[in-house]
Symmetry: C2
Subunit: 272 residues, 2 copies
């Protein structure tokens, strides 16, 4: 998907919501557990109920990998379901991968070609040649960890290197990589005041923002400092939406939670 | 597997060789491609021919993930084959994972419980709460990227933070994490002179060393600066061994390449 198509969809739906499909078998409604593929059935119901309220879905790959072959089958069915039924949706494989060049190429192939995700998240520690293989794919997007929403973000990401925090060095450096226009960045909502500084480095890039909701970040703050002329934000919520109810009505309840966020977003998007 | 069991095995076999099972379908002998599961058959033949010469196998997960369900099935069969037939072998899931706490727990469960690997590689960028969930598992080992063997290692890992390079800050900081005794570190062989400094921070930890062979690092140099009283090294070779021949004799040729390294290692291990 092109960035322009994503921006159009955001403006059309008045939403920059991304829903995290982090499916934990211990948390999904018990009536689903009797079905052959509870994880896929859960995702399908959530997607059917919420697709008009969001512009992106983000399965965190760990949750699928944890269930082995069953998990990968469910992931495969989920991405196919999205690509066939809702091709306007931006899909994110939240994998946080990164390895030496020829190995990163294998990961890129897995997520961009075999599973046909629009984007994948990557970790920057191994540098340029671990990320560039992902950037080669046209109209595919590589979302690099910059400043994450967890407590451990302060262990290394904010260490000072040559007068600036590491996460700024990471963003700055990545701008010089080949096909850098295919980069987006993960910036946690729990650190909204940092968005202003990040926008001075990458005014035009999309930022994927976890940490609204369960992790406590404020949507209004994120928009105040992080929004650009093309909106430039994808704000993710996972648990706050998908586990709104553990009853038969889980999908309806999830849609209601998603709608609350979508309406907030509609208010925050500047009128044309 | 306990660290002590690994050390015993190293001393018994006079080898600290780890063989990387990075199976690329385009590089394996063509006569295998007719079989139902070429990747597993390739691994099985390599393992049967080389297990007496090495102490560890390290499948890089990217290579399996790239083949989707077929790849995961082959990985599952490979780790089961190792655990059943060669329980004395130390197994490494080279996955370079890392995510927020509850998500890292899912990855740890996938590799340590479901697949029963002895160890998994992780990336440090997200800090303490992204790694500690892996460290909770007793007699399982978490191998954290410190200084990698690729060119991109110099993008961020060697940036100066508070008077020392980032990779040293990463190692130093990790020593304070809960169950830090379950940590090992990835240190590339292409940077052998760095080993002396790393040994001043973690004199007793095991180091997993990629980059000997195809990537050009010297085994003697690595041992000179990196070996400790318990040996403390696992030196990995992948392509140099497993792709020694693309003919019917691929496993025999792989064993010959492995033996060259094992004999070099036997010479470098101090006599008791």
């Amino acid at each position: 998907m092109t960035t322009q198509a994503l921006v159009s969809e955001i403006k059309k739906k008045k939403s920059f919501l991304c829903i995290g499909l982090d499916v934990d078998m211990t948390k999904i409604p018990s009536h689903l557990s009797k079905l052959e593929d509870p994880i896929f059935e859960f995702n399908k119901a959530i997607i059917d109920a919420t697709h008009h309220l969001c512009v992106a879905y983000k399965p965190n790959i760990a949750f699928y990998e944890a269930y082995g072959l069953k998990g990968w089958t469910a992931l495969d069915k989920t991405i196919n379901y999205l690509n066939i039924n809702y091709p306007e949706i931006f899909t994110i494989a939240d994998a946080k991968r990164g390895d030496i060049g020829n190995t990163s190429s294998m990961y890129a192939k897995a997520f961009f070609e075999d599973m046909a995700f629009d984007s994948v998240t990557v970790a920057p520690y191994m540098g340029k040649d671990s990320i560039e293989p992902f950037l080669e794919f046209q109209n595919k997007h590589t979302i690099m960890l910059a400043l994450t929403s967890n407590a451990g973000a302060f262990d290394f990401q904010t260490l000072t290197t040559s007068g600036q925090p590491l996460y700024k060095a990471v963003i700055e450096t990545s701008k010089g990589w080949k096909n850098a226009h295919n980069l987006m960045y993960v910036v946690g909502a729990t650190k909204a005041s940092y968005f202003a500084e990040i926008r001075t480095i990458v005014p035009d890039s999309f930022l994927l923002v976890p940490g609204v909701g369960a992790q406590g970040g404020s949507l209004a703050e994120v928009c105040k400092y992080g929004m650009n002329a093309q909106i430039g934000l994808l704000v993710n919520s996972s648990r706050g939406i998908i586990y709104a109810s553990s009853g038969q009505d889980f999908a309806v309840q999830a849609a209601q939670k998603a709608q609350v966020l979508q309406l907030e977003m509609a208010d925050l998007i500047p009128k044309d």
